[in-house]
């Protein structure tokens, strides 16, 4: 049978089934998706899909990994569509189209030290980049992963973080904005972790995802340390209705976040990051 994808316009989703579901935090889940028919969507780390909840709407969601051939999407319930995805169970179906966007582009920096800085759910699109570096350790220099969250119970991927921390070939640090008394780790902003890991600023590529104010602070600190602004990559987020550069919603200055991004060298967007309401 010929699926819609074979003949369809760019706004037409294919149907995917939830293969498994994992709870991350009180409002965040990771779902594994398999196509009902046709090939799996192949995404590079940093790319995203448009996920459609039947009759409710569609949202852009980054790929947070691959697991046994399934595409993983980590979703925080903040609106009607993400709430429907959050409430899904195994076997439920969603529409999906993709892949969209450009990806982190780690392959452009063979041998460089890799510094990954994540804030909150910003860790989701970075997870496949971390796994990629760990799986191809010989292709990269030092790996540092700095993770910030508002509180311990808002940390996603806790099992993964524990596994990464057990690696001797990676420096993985976690910090919490507001910590309860039983928290034994670092407390403070994620920028405060930067001096606590070792990397060579002159040969480092930094991948950063989190709130805009956090990404700007991280980029500023990294540039002060001597990391070139074109070696710092941030993942931008804007409202999106189409993901193909037609709807106009995701514009960030001259950039369409959906097709020119969502990953941008900081150098390219630095001036925009200093202006409100762009």
């Amino acid at each position: 049978m010929v699926g819609p994808a074979d003949m369809s316009g760019p706004m037409t989703p294919r149907i995917f089934r939830v293969a498994s579901k994992r709870r991350e935090t009180a409002d965040t889940v990771t779902l594994a998706f398999d196509p009902l028919e046709g090939p799996q969507i192949e995404l590079r780390p940093g790319q995203f899909d448009m996920l459609y909840a039947f009759g409710i709407g569609e949202v852009p969601i980054s790929m947070s990994g691959m697991s046994e051939g399934s595409v993983l999407h980590t979703v925080r319930a903040v609106g009607a569509v993400t709430r429907a995805i959050y409430d899904a169970g195994e076997g439920d179906v969603f529409g999906m189209r993709g892949p969209y966007g450009n990806g982190w582009g780690l392959e452009d920096h063979p041998g460089a030290d890799v510094l990954i800085v994540a804030g909150g759910i910003g860790l989701a699109p970075l997870r496949p980049a971390i796994e990629h570096v760990l799986a191809h350790r010989e292709l990269h220099g030092k790996l540092s992963v700095l993770i910030g969250a508002r509180s311990p119970e808002l940390l996603i991927f806790q099992d993964d973080i524990a596994r990464w921390q057990a690696r001797l070939d990676a420096q993985v640090r976690v910090t919490i904005d507001v910590a309860p008394s039983e928290w034994r780790g670092a407390v403070g902003l994620v920028t405060e972790l930067i001096p606590r890991v070792s990397f060579d600023p002159g040969r480092t590529v930094a991948l950063v995802c989190g709130p805009e104010i956090m990404m700007r602070a991280v980029a500023t600190d990294l540039m002060d340390l001597g990391v070139a602004s074109d070696q710092i990559r941030i993942s931008m987020e804007r409202n999106m209705k189409c993901a193909i550069g037609h709807c106009g919603h995701c514009q960030f200055g001259p950039e369409f976040v959906c097709k020119d991004g969502p990953i941008f060298p900081y150098e390219r967007v630095e001036s925009l990051m200093r202006v409100r309401e762009v």
């Binding site: 760019p10 569609e58 903040v78 550069g245 709807c247 369409f256």
Partner: protein
């Protein structure tokens, strides 16, 4: 760049037709299966709609336009195209205000998606002005790129375009500044210039395509004379000299990129109502939103695409917040996009100088005046940093 629009090597028009020839042209299009669309008077404005013949055209009417002002008045002749552009643009046919994208139906634990086939057309557009033809070319760059829009692509490729060179620019027109007119082209199938001399009412015809040539050959027509050419050129020259507005576009991208914090944005925000009129009448504004719906059973869903505007709060919604909460931010987004970032995105300005946003702004905000104000009092250098 867009500046090439509106210039065309001068050569003798292929033919001259009279009013009967024009009616024969419309009849030929109808016989060939086209829905003929053109200007007609309705509700006190010249709008675009289906026309049956020459009698539906706004004979003897013209429009007086200024900021926040539009009035139809009588001409002292019977010109069929003696006016500028009204509130409609051809965008409403190529990129319809509302489009059904697909339907979905729940079935046995899953659902099926059925794409909506492109509908409507083929269309023949009569009376496309230079600015409007340029606007169509600009939207081509948006909708016919890496992911062609099925409806736009279908309607666009089948559209038969009859341009009419502008004889009567309005007070809000500045196509000469934007390099889009008053001469229309390239990109038409046929291009007419209306000539009214004493009792003579005729149209010179330029051919821009094979199907235009084919259609013309089936019409009663005369060869154009040097005299006809001179008359047609005079019409266009007079129009070029009658622009109601102008805009200095020199270094405009750098000007606007370098002045994102200019106090003029606060000033215009005091006047702008965020009503979205400018974006809806603009022939190049392409932003859209989608609406996902279900019927009462919940088993049948649809996705509709409709025109949207960067002047609404929802446009920039992000995770329960909004990026552009102020009118200042939204007006700056619109104008900076239209005149500056559009150039980076599509290698052309997003403005064709049609003046609609000035005419139909309820408070008379004038994009040419806003640019001039920033230029006169800019913060950085003329080619300031970005």
């Amino acid at each position: 760049m867009h500046r090439s629009f509106g210039r065309k090597e001068k050569k003798l028009p292929e033919a001259v037709i009279d009013l009967e020839g024009l009616q024969a042209l419309l009849d030929s299009l109808t016989i060939r299966g086209y829905t003929v669309l053109g200007p007609t008077v309705r509700d006190g404005a010249i709008v675009y709609d289906e026309i049956a013949g020459v009698n539906d055209l706004p004979a003897g009417w013209t429009d007086e336009q200024d900021a926040a002002t539009y009035r139809l008045t009588r001409r002292d002749d019977s010109a069929l195209f003696g006016y500028a552009v009204g509130p409609h643009s051809w965008k409403k046919y190529l990129f319809p205000p509302q489009t059904l994208l697909w339907k979905a139906r729940r079935s046995s634990g899953a659902f099926e998606v059925e794409e909506a086939a492109p509908q409507g057309g083929p269309y023949a557009f009569l009376g496309v002005r230079g600015c409007e033809l340029a606007a169509i070319h600009i939207q081509d760059r948006v909708f016919l790129g890496e992911h062609p829009d099925p409806t736009y692509a279908d309607r666009r490729s089948n559209a038969f375009i009859i341009a009419v060179n502008c004889s009567t620019p309005a007070g809000t027109c500045f196509c000469v500044s934007m390099g889009t007119g008053p001469r229309a082209g390239p990109g038409f199938d046929l291009s007419l210039t209306e000539i009214l001399e004493g009792d003579r009412h005729a149209f010179t015809v330029d051919v821009g395509s094979e199907r235009g040539e084919e259609l013309l050959s089936a019409l009663p027509h005369m060869p154009a004379t040097t005299e006809d050419e001179r008359s047609a050129e005079a019409v266009i020259e007079r129009a070029a000299g009658a622009m109601g507005r102008s805009m200095d576009t020199d270094g405009i991208k750098e000007l606007l990129y370098g002045n994102r914090e200019h106090p003029r944005w606060d000033d215009v925000a005091q006047r702008c109502l965020s009503c979205t009129n400018c974006t809806l009448v603009c022939p190049t504004c392409f932003c859209s939103t989608v609406e996902d719906t279900t019927d009462l059973t919940g088993d049948n869903a649809e996705r509709w695409r409709s025109w949207d505007s960067c002047f609404t709060l929802d446009f920039s919604e992000l995770g329960g917040n909004n990026v552009r909460t102020t009118t200042r931010g939204r007006y700056r987004q619109w104008m900076t996009h239209k005149l500056a970032s559009w150039i980076d995105q599509f290698d052309t300005s997003g403005c064709v100088g049609c003046g609609r946003c000035i005419t139909w702004c309820p408070v008379g905000i004038d994009i040419t005046e806003e640019v001039a104000a920033i230029r006169e009092t800019q913060e950085g250098s003329r080619h300031g940093d970005t």
